[in-house]
Assembly symmetry: C2
């Protein structure tokens, strides 16, 4: 099930709307398309051309010299694509004739496919439209918490997408490296507490684990086959009571790595419960972190400056003073840059992803 | 000058087209939009809704359960965006009522802006639609060879775009590192010949140099201020006669770095002159490369497997036998993975970009 739409535009210094319409009409009519024209007088024309096979075209002529052409058909095939390209070539030629080559800009955008089995459009954290090279739906399930998709990208490998947000792909070792301190930490003999980890580390959602165990093995290895290993234990439960218990028992860690959620995009920390959650996690984490311990976390897309600034402000409100530093890394599948790191005493690094950000905190 | 269009769709197990049309009509009519309906009988409906201010909507109802809504207006403002969101909310609600929540998928795509001063859409090498966070046109000139744009991206910094192809951004040190051998080479006291280099190294197009010298200083530093330095010389001329002259004079290099052009996408090497150019460059480069010399070059997007395979085949046709290896790196601003490297005697590395590819060749 598909809806193929192709978008095109040209621009002129000045357009006589009627002349443009008269020049382009024959091109559509030659295709056996029937025309309906709306004339706004002061806003130009909309001409709609309809073909018997269910496809149609919109020709929107703006009086200040912008001409937009949208073509939509139900199926997408090589022959159809060629026909569309030929039609656009003809329009371009006719326009160049009409304006004696005096055209400011001509642009054809790649076609958009809607309603296909495979959805290739997963906007970035800052809301930009990006098309992925997805060629297979590997896993698609609804858990009580979220929709879980694992889609295969030709270049990024399997990608985990939770409720529409790209979480991690097999290409994204850079993310894991950054949130572990960019190779500068020696974890030998250290106690490490990892919160979250959509890549198949501990997560409250058993169905994410199930999907990752099977289809994200390049990221999680065999760690999820047995939840208890020689030097690790995976707990599938809410981390808040666990943190509270550890704090009460006085159990302390050298490192806390918070990979639970990105910094919220909302910039109303008093109203948004995600911010409250984030502060609670930070406070509890500081309680279980040794005096010279480090806390690493992710930020969000580097463009979300308001949200990132706000996050840094939250760090000043912790019960214990911390310093932080930040680092920006490029996470291939995010198609954007991203940061964070915190050090309890010392520095607190916000990894901004170029798309991963890191927060490293030290107690002081 | 802008054309703002917003795209939306829902999907159902089965749609009674007429029922959908009847349910959604009032939503558009409440907006004071006038309706024109086309009924294909066997292909569903197209309803066009026109507003007095020049904006319009297309409602395309397919009989197999795909409903597409496209909204288009001339200007883009916060109020307009909110109205569009409200309209889409109402459509979604009404559809859920009609189908008792039995909807397979609902998706809203980020709006597309056409005809704006800033063009944010620069498709990837494999033809995918991606939107960049461009906020400024820094440089835009036509040279006798190409259109040269330097656009500012919030996250990638200044981006050099040659005739619509993203060449390099200030964020893309990974590209330069890969094409120089990923930090594994010791260039001390070595003779290096660099061909091309859109980042402001030698290039036949003086206007690219002019733009880069001024606006891509994070990538080219002060190298272009003086074309002759203590240990380098920049020649702004066609590299083919230069290579021929060097070959005739017997001038030899330890390294040849070819950053002229990506591997052509066309897979008809016999017909495409770019392939011929590429073979000529390779042959001439081998002639000026010392016996244990290395040749580095870029490939193209890792998804263009046919073109990359063909390139590797060309390496087998060189007058001297070479071995090669390849490497894939992520070039942030390319938003795709990309490879190449050749070693004259030894290995020949194709750097596939994740988006840079490298070819390292050694004489043998």
């Amino acid at each position: 099930m598909k809806g193929y739409s192709k978008h095109y535009y040209t621009e002129f210094a000045f357009a006589d709307c009627n002349a443009v319409l008269k020049a382009l009409q024959p091109i559509f009519q030659e295709q056996g398309m029937t025309e309906t024209v709306h004339n706004w007088e002061d806003h130009g024309y909309l001409a709609t051309y309809i073909k018997k096979n269910g496809s149609f075209a919109n020709l929107r002529i703006h009086p200040h010299g912008l001409v937009l052409v949208d073509l939509q058909s139900y199926s997408d095939c090589t022959k159809g694509r060629e026909e569309v390209d030929q039609l656009l070539n003809k329009i371009e030629e006719r326009m160049k004739e009409l304006f004696h080559g005096n055209i400011k800009r001509v642009k054809r955008l790649p076609a958009i496919l809607r309603g296909d089995v495979i959805d290739r459009y997963w906007p970035t954290a800052d809301g930009r439209l990006v098309e992925y090279d997805i060629d297979e739906v590997v896993y698609d399930e609804d858990s009580p918490f979220q929709n879980i998709k694992i889609l295969h990208s030709k270049q990024f490998g399997n990608i985990l997408i939770l409720s529409g947000d790209v979480n991690l792909a097999e290409s994204d070792l850079a993310y894991t490296q950054a949130i572990m301190g960019s190779g500068k930490e020696d974890y030998t003999g250290k106690e490490v507490l990892i919160l979250g980890g959509g890549d198949g580390a501990s997560n409250i959602d058993q169905m994410v684990i199930d999907g990752c165990k099977k289809y994200m093995r390049k990221t999680c290895g065999d760690v999820l086959d047995n939840l208890n290993g020689e030097c690790y234990q995976v707990l599938i439960e809410d981390c808040i009571p666990v943190l509270k218990r550890y704090a009460k028992e006085g159990r302390m860690f050298d490192y806390v790595i918070n990979d639970l959620t990105a910094v919220p995009i909302s910039t109303s920390p008093e109203e948004d419960s995600t911010w409250e959650f984030l502060r609670l996690i930070l406070d509890l984490s500081m309680k279980v972190l040794k005096q010279d311990g480090k806390y690493f976390t992710q930020g969000n897309c580097i463009n979300l400056t308001d949200a990132l600034t706000l996050y840094e402000e939250q760090l000043g409100r912790l019960y214990c003073p911390v310093e932080f530093s930040k680092e920006t890394v490029c996470v291939p599948s995010y198609m954007e840059l991203y940061p964070y790191k915190l050090k309890k005493s010392g520095e607190c690094v916000l990894i901004n992803q170029a798309s991963l950000a890191c927060l490293e905190v030290m107690n002081s």
